[in-house]
Amino acid sequence: MPKSGSAENSINPPLWLLLELTYRCPLSCPYCANPVDLGDPADELSTEDWLKVLEQARAMGAVQLGLSGGEPLLRKDLEVIVAKARELGFYTNLITSGIGLTNKRLKALKDAGLDHIQVSFQSADPDTNDAIAGKRKAFETKQELARQVKAHGFPMVLNFVISKQNIENIDAIMQLSQSLEADYVELATAQYYGWALQNRDQLMPTLEQVRTAEAQVNAVRDSQNGVGPRFIFVTPDYYETRPKACMSGWGNIFLSVAPDGRAMPCHSAALLPLSFPNVRDSNLKSIWYESELFNKYRGFDWMPEPCRSCDEKEKDFGGCRCQALLLTGDAANADPVCDKSPHHHKIVSAAESAAACRNGETLARTVQNSQIIMQTRV
């Protein structure tokens, strides 16, 4: 039993566990949220390590499990991980590009107890899709695969990252989702971290494009009468004046583990200049409750002004630490999306710069580009 007044009494257990099983990926999407430093596949955790993480997290009370990457299907032990997770009582979500998901693997995953599959698409138009994904025939493969996912009886979420390249085809995207019988459809612009930040000017739709697309989505919703997919439209926070409640607060409900075992309060946090505890060295319980990292921006005491004295802090937790760092230089600052932030003008000018950008050429998320960027940084 924890003593009264100990950390465990005031801190919620994690509800959500996200395992980024690998950063290897057959696609090269320019909006990818993976860190620009894709690391070394040789450092990936072993099967035993992942199973141990599952046990520890479940014992703490985690119940939703995301298996993502990179492309999680590149891990040959994915079925073993799913089976263990399901046995422990997790609700298991596979987040995949669909490339590599054969009928045989679908069946094996079903047998292992996988609950849900989220398939990402780049567009409803095959050529645009394959150009964004950086792979020929990717669209065809995904479309066929989505049919198989439904045929195997999985709930299916389709995810389209909305950008300048596809926003004007949003009607076709919704039609495709209906014909594939998706249960939920996420139409979300990228969060501009990692690769997406490198490509922000080229990707971010204008405010006008966002408003038009939003109206199109609302029109489809109104005509649905409760039948067909549930469409979820997420606009870029660059057009807001209050930040999102990132991760529902640092170290509050969400725990993510990178391919090499670093534990983080958010899958983007790798970009923060902090040192991360590793599941190879410590158990999750001490990482969650006691590590310096997980306590750094937990609660409200760490906040400087304007958040410290703001009456909205319990609603948005001061926004996103990564966005604060990337745009203001200090992760503890208010997220500059907030118009109370003295740095808010940086958000406004980034949106203007993206609106003015006519060059559609993006930097592909490839191992080669990762190495070039990392070398020039050193």
């Binding site: 257990p13 009370g61 119940v63 939703q64 609700y91 979500n93 849900h116 989220q118 009886g153 709930p155």
Partner: protein, 88 residues
């Protein structure tokens, strides 16, 4: 409308499970969770696609004899659950 002679079950998009850490029954679905009240949990766990609503109410009445508006409470809750597509 909820029919008392009909049997319902939890929709296949959801999984009903008891969570010791929450001390509650929960409905799990793609990337989300609904924490149920004690009575909602007790009702949903009886839905197996075979028991009719009337049978279910009888079982609950036997377990909670002091509950006097059980029929209304159960059908009202099931109506809401049906509208939210938790059950079918």
């Amino acid at each position: 409308m909820i029919q008392e002679n009909q049997a319902y079950q939890v929709h296949k998009l959801f999984r009903l499970q008891y969570e010791p850490a929450q001390n509650a029954w929960v409905l799990l679905y793609p990337e989300g969770m609904i924490k149920l009240s004690e009575s909602a949990g007790e009702i949903l766990r009886l839905l197996d696609g075979e028991r009719t609503v009337a049978q279910m109410i009888a079982e609950l009445q036997a377990r909670f004899p002091q509950a006097d508006t059980l029929t209304e409470d159960v059908t009202e809750f099931l109506g809401e659950a049906h509208a939210k597509k938790w059950i079918c």
